[in-house]
Every structure is written in structure tokens, then in C-alpha cells.
């Protein structure tokens, strides 16, 4: 019964999407204007925007992961000043909206017109002119990375804590220093816990980068807005952007599957087959043949 309801609703949705018309100013018009969507989907402006979105996602996630790992390690440090400052960072960046942080970095040159590298309170080594360096893209990258770092650190920390303490102990008994044990023994095992939420974070970041349109980064949504502000095809262009986000998200989900599989090494006796392998096996083994009903893999979790 429920299935019938769902099917009817799906049919109505499909009809509305593809075949229905609206009457505007006395003239009937295709409701969703698929020809407009089709026209802009692969247009240069949109593809350039997509490229910027992907670049921003990659930079922000890379920065976020580096910061996150560093913060997680700091928080687990026995030194209270080190762990305390990491806690403070996380508290601050999780407690303020990322949108506000983006606006802040976009306008940061008001308060930090120059950026100096050198000995603290001593001689300077290099000067940066922030007004020229802090382009919208850089501002958005910095803002998103710093914010993402706070979230990633909690994910990494959960991963580190999930690894049995006996592992650190065995590593220390071999004479490994704390950080080496963390890098060689604990983090690789923590990956199994870290990867799935990191995949979610990446997917979420892909969409969060659309906030950067407000600080004039020429990413996907910005480009769509640029086009519809000229031709008023608002809904079709929002659909174009959405479809672009959708297919990249789908791709990321596939990637996540394979990375998770890679880090399951050593915890499962035999890795489960990939969808491709499953398909191939399904084609090779015909029903009725021996082995068809056998479990295709064993996952050891003793």
C-alpha cells in the first residue's frame, strides 16, 4: 500500500518536473524550462564556477584536515597549556557561524593591513601586503579551513581515542616516542573511524563553499547568480547549480567507499568485493551452480 502511494507521488512529481506548464502573462510556458537548464549546464561560466568550487573544497578540506590533526594531537597532549589552547580554538571556531568568519576574513585587511613574519617582538624577516594577498578566494580558503579544522579535530580525536591503548603501549615499549607512535601506529588505525565522517565533511564542505559567493568568490553559485541576474532565469539556473553539486557529491560518495575499503585492511579477514567485482561475479555464476548461495566474504570481528 505504502509503495503504491510512493509510486503515485513519484509519478506526480515526474509529471510536474517534465510535462507540466504554467501560464504567465497569458502565455503557457514549460514549468521547469529544461531547455534553459540544458543550455547552461555545460556553459563555460558554470564550468569555471564548478572548477572554483572544487578547488575551494579541496583547499579548505586539506587545510581543515591538517589543522584538525594538529589540534587533536594537541588536545591529547599531557601539557595543559598545549591541550588548553587547542580546546580554546575549537570552542571559538565552533561557537561562531562560519558565515560570519568568512565575512571577517574577507574584511580582515582593515585590521591586519600587513602581515609580518619574524622573531616574535623582534626583527622581521618578511612583510606581506595583506590587501594584495587576501583575494576573495584566499579569504574564503582561510576562513573555511580554520573553521573546518575545529570540526575535523573532534573527528580525529574520536578516531585516536577509539584505538586500543595497548597499541600505544606496545609502540612505546619498542622505544617509539609519543608522536612517532601516533603517526605510525595509532593514526593509521584511527583512519577507519576518521574516514566516514570526513567523507561527510567533504560533501558538506562542497556545499558550504557556496557561502563564498557572498564574499565575491566566483564559484558555482556566484556564476549562476551572475547569469540569472542578467536573464532572470532564476529557477533554471539554481537547478543547474544543484545538479552540478549533486553529481560531484555522488562521485565523492563512490570515492569514500573505496577509501574506507582501503583502511579496512587488517581488520577484516578478507575485503568485501567492490560493486564492480560483485557485478562481474554475478554475471559469471549462473543460478543453480554450486557456490551461488555461499556467503561471498567473511568479516572477522572477533
Amino acid at each position: 500500500m505504502a509503495a503504491v502511494v510512493v509510486l503515485v507521488l513519484a509519478a506526480m512529481l515526474a509529471h510536474s518536473l517534465f510535462f507540466s506548464h504554467v501560464v504567465i502573462n497569458g502565455r503557457p510556458r514549460e514549468r521547469f524550462e529544461w531547455h534553459v537548464i540544458d543550455h547552461y549546464f555545460l556553459s563555460t561560466q558554470i564550468l569555471v564556477g564548478l572548477g572554483v568550487t572544487l578547488a575551494l573544497t579541496a583547499v579548505a578540506m586539506a587545510g581543515g584536515i591538517v589543522i584538525g590533526v594538529a589540534l587533536a594531537v594537541m588536545r591529547l597532549s599531557p601539557n595543559p597549556i598545549v591541550s588548553g589552547s587547542a580546546w580554546l580554538y575549537i570552542w571559538f571556531f565552533r561557537g561562531t557561524p562560519v558565515f560570519v568568519q568568512l565575512l571577517f576574513w574577507f574584511n580582515a585587511y582593515y585590521i591586519f593591513p600587513t602581515f609580518t613574519v619574524g622573531v616574535p617582538f623582534g626583527p622581521a624577516v618578511a612583510h606581506f601586503d595583506v590587501t594584495t594577498w587576501l583575494t576573495p578566494f584566499v579569504a574564503a580558503s582561510v576562513g573555511l579551513s580554520l573553521n573546518e579544522g575545529a570540526y575535523m579535530s573532534e573527528i580525529v580525536r574520536a578516531g585516536i581515542i577509539s584505538v586500543d591503548e595497548g597499541q600505544t603501549e606496545a609502540a612505546q615499549a619498542l622505544g617509539m616516542p609519543r608522536l612517532m607512535a601516533l603517526r605510525l601506529i595509532v593514526l593509521p588505525q584511527a583512519m577507519r573511524v576518521i574516514i566516514p565522517p570526513t567523507g561527510n565533511e567533504t560533501i558538506s564542505m562542497l556545499k558550504t563553499t557556496s557561502l563564498a559567493s557572498v564574499v565575491t568568490v566566483r564559484e558555482l553559485l556566484f556564476q549562476a547568480q551572475l547569469i540569472y541576474s542578467a536573464n532572470y532565469e532564476i529557477i533554471p539556473l539554481l537547478i543547474v547549480a544543484s545538479l552540478q553539486y549533486l553529481w560531484v557529491t555522488s562521485l565523492l560518495m563512490v570515492g569514500q567507499y573505496y577509501i574506507e575499503r582501503h583502511y579496512a585492511r587488517g581488520s577484516a579477514r578478507q575485503l568485501p568485493p567492490t560493486p564492480l567485482e560483485r557485478l562481474r561475479r554475478g554475471l559469471l555464476i549462473r543460478p543453480g551452480q554450486a557456490g551461488f548461495g555461499r556467503a561471498p566474504f567473511i568479516v572477522g570481528n572477533d
Partner: protein
């Protein structure tokens, strides 16, 4: 090799070690027995500086554990020095603690390659020899999950041996094993003892203690209650607490 004088350790207000005195001579195999919670593991972990000693003197091979003595004063060792000392003491755990993301071979080579900075080829060749010696020549590429408990513990022993330790600590190495797998691990330990390795073994395998051990200590509530040649302690315990413990487990 190991000398403990009045070693104390407490966790919060709970005194776990209340003045341990003992000496393990070079080449000696000392077995340690005692009821659960008596502080056996804690003592082994102190020797390796996995726990900090709160009082008394504990030294390994003439070096104070965790401290340097200079002009009658004690200076805490830096992390790097602590690691160097740990690398000279092998430790085998009750639950093996093999690195699950590495093959048996990688488990055995990681210490020499990363900590001692030995060339990889050299470390690998020696790791293969060690794995062969514990009877696992054909399981070199297996991950810990693919090995039985007895096999895992033998890899763990090979991993500790790969560091060429002066002293080996065993913390109930067979208690997590199915009875039929205990023998294969004890056989490896027996052969190490025959080669003259200095060993301190916490165990409840009385047959092993009797045949392989040079001495036996009985620990209870953070003190050593009785010690002596294994046969004597096991057949003629002088202390009441030892008698009570032995009658319970034999």
C-alpha cells in the same frame, strides 16, 4: 640486571606497590606469581617506565629507570632518553598488542627500522630469521587477524626480540590463549631461556616456572611475600599467604 629497592607506586590514594625489593641477575629467568590486583603488571610496567615509580630505587642494567644520577642528585630523563632505555627492554603483553594494520613481518621490522634506524633490508632479513625461529616462517605476510592467538603471541615475541633487548618482560603471555595453544608459546620462551636471555615472567603456568625458572617470587598486595628456587617455593611454601594462594590455583 634488574634491581629494585623499596619500589613504591600508587594510583591516587591506592597503594599498588608497597616497597618491592628484588634482583634479577643477568641470564636469570625469574617467574612472578600472585593474585589478581597484587601489582605484578604495574611492577613490570615500572621497569619499562610505562609507569613512573613514586618511591624507592629501580634500576635496569645499572641505570636508574627514568632518572639520571649526578653528584648525588636525581635528574628526570628527557623523553628521548626514556625511549632509548625502553628500546633495550623487550615486553610481551597478555593481549599480544600486535599492530593489526601491519603484516607479521612489518610488525617485527618496524622497531629496528624506525627506532634503531637499521637499514630496511637488514632488519627484514633478521625479522625473517626471528619469525622462522618462533615457527612462523610461512606466515610472514599474514595480518594479525589472520593468525591464531598462539601465532600472534609468537609474532609479538619476535617483535620484542628484534630490538635485541638485554631483558625481556612477559606479562602473563599465555593467559589469553586457548589451552592447546599455550604449549607453543611456552616452548619458544623455554628456548630463549636456554640461550641465556634474562627474563622476568609473570605467569601462572607452574610447570613452566618449575622447569624453566631459576627463581620464583610470590607477590601479594604490593609486596613480595616469598621468593626462592621455584621447586622450593611451590612444594614447601613457608608463608601462609603463599600456601593459601597455591592451594587455590594448583
Amino acid at each position: 640486571m634488574v634491581r629494585a629497592e623499596g619500589v613504591r607506586k600508587h594510583f591516587g590514594r591506592h597503594e599498588v606497590l608497597r616497597g618491592i625489593d628484588l634482583e634479577v641477575r643477568t641470564g636469570e629467568v625469574m617467574c612472578m606469581i600472585g593474585p589478581s590486583g597484587s601489582g605484578k603488571s604495574t611492577f613490570l610496567r615500572c621497569i619499562n617506565h610505562l609507569e613512573k615509580v613514586d618511591g624507592g630505587r629501580l634500576s635496569v642494567d645499572g641505570h636508574l629507570v627514568g632518572y639520571r644520577e649526578q653528584g648525588g642528585k636525581l635528574y628526570e630523563l628527557r623523553d628521548r632518553e626514556v625511549c632509548q632505555r625502553r628500546a633495550e627492554v623487550g615486553m610481551v603483553f597478555q593481549h599480544f598488542n600486535l599492530f593489526p594494520h601491519m603484516t607479521a613481518l612489518e610488525n617485527v621490522t618496524i622497531g629496528p627500522v624506525r627506532v634503531k634506524r637499521e637499514p630496511k633490508a637488514e632488519a627484514e632479513a633478521r625479522a625473517r630469521q626471528l619469525l622462522a625461529r618462533v615457527g612462523l616462517a610461512n606466515r610472514v605476510g599474514a595480518y594479525p587477524r589472520q593468525l591464531s592467538g598462539g601465532q600472534q603471541q609468537r609474532v609479538a615475541i619476535a617483535r620484542a626480540l628484534a630490538m635485541q633487548p638485554k631483558l625481556m618482560l612477559f606479562d602473563e603471555p599465555t593467559s589469553a590463549l586457548d589451552p592447546e595453544l599455550v604449549g607453543e608459546v611456552l616452548d619458544v620462551m623455554r628456548s630463549l631461556a636456554e640461550e641465556g636471555l634474562t627474563m622476568l615472567v609473570v605467569t601462572h603456568e607452574m610447570g613452566f616456572a618449575r622447569e624453566v625458572g631459576d627463581s620464583l617470587v610470590f607477590m601479594d598486595q604490593g609486596v613480595i611475600v616469598e621468593s626462592g628456587p621455584p621447586r622450593e617455593v611451590l612444594s614447601n611454601p613457608r608463608q601462609e599467604r603463599t600456601q593459601a594462594f597455591l592451594s587455590r590455583i594448583l
